[in-house]
Subunit: 136 residues, 2 copies
């Protein structure tokens, strides 16, 4: 199946491109959370952050940094939300970093911070040990 | 004022550390969205993604990649949400990348995707032009 972001990269699908490098492309999300919402993608097809080759990580997030500054400036925003959905809630299986301009009292303030506390210090320590073990 | 993440980095404040490099530290968020929710921070104090020196961006997001794989594995998750709040919704003004394990039907599916469409193609093109102009 065709990948819509690969089609944007190869020029066979239209997009409002705002930034490009030899490794990355950035274009407007056409269903923006807020106007100016931009997606930064690697030119090569990689599905999630786990799949990015080591030498692509730096260029992708350097582009994200540059685009974030420009989106804030262009939209007169107070800050920005930068996010990657990996597999779950990921609509297109080609890594894309969302850059969303934010403003004080823009209504998104509490959207993320539903919390599920640990029942005890021991439970938290056990979770940390599991993650450390997965890293070793 | 003391920065709580600088205190974690210098060891004067406790945290459940799961990963460390010479440039980064990763530890559990103690008010997790889901258990295993981890924060990756640069050791040096930088407020937002805009403030990260060029030579720190790669190491920070390489750590994020490694931690994301470990969090998914350790928690038996199906994917992960990776996000940075810059200024707005940013509780601690020391850059931190959230790595949140995700599962199918974990209840967060629609949390992000409140949308504000462009009224016309012209309006979208005008926004893209503004961002391109901020980049040039």
């Amino acid at each position: 199946m065709a990948c819509v972001f690969c089609e944007i990269v190869d020029g066979s699908r239209d997009a409002l491109v705002v930034d490009e490098t030899d490794r990355t492309l950035a274009f407007l999300d056409m269903r923006p959370v807020f106007h100016g919402h931009t997606l930064v993608v690697p030119r090569d097809h990689h599905e999630t952050i786990l799949d990015l080759p080591a030498d692509v990580i730096g260029p992708v997030f350097a582009a994200v940094q540059r685009v974030t500054g420009a989106v804030i400036e262009a939209m007169g925003a107070d800050g920005a939300f930068v996010a990657v959905n990996n597999r779950i809630s990921q609509s297109v299986p080609h890594l894309h970093v969302h850059v969303v301009p934010r403003r004080t009292k823009d209504g998104l303030k509490g959207f993320f911070w539903l919390r599920h506390p640990y029942a005890s210090d021991d439970e938290a320590a056990e979770v940390a040990a599991r993650i450390r073990s997965a890293l070793s």
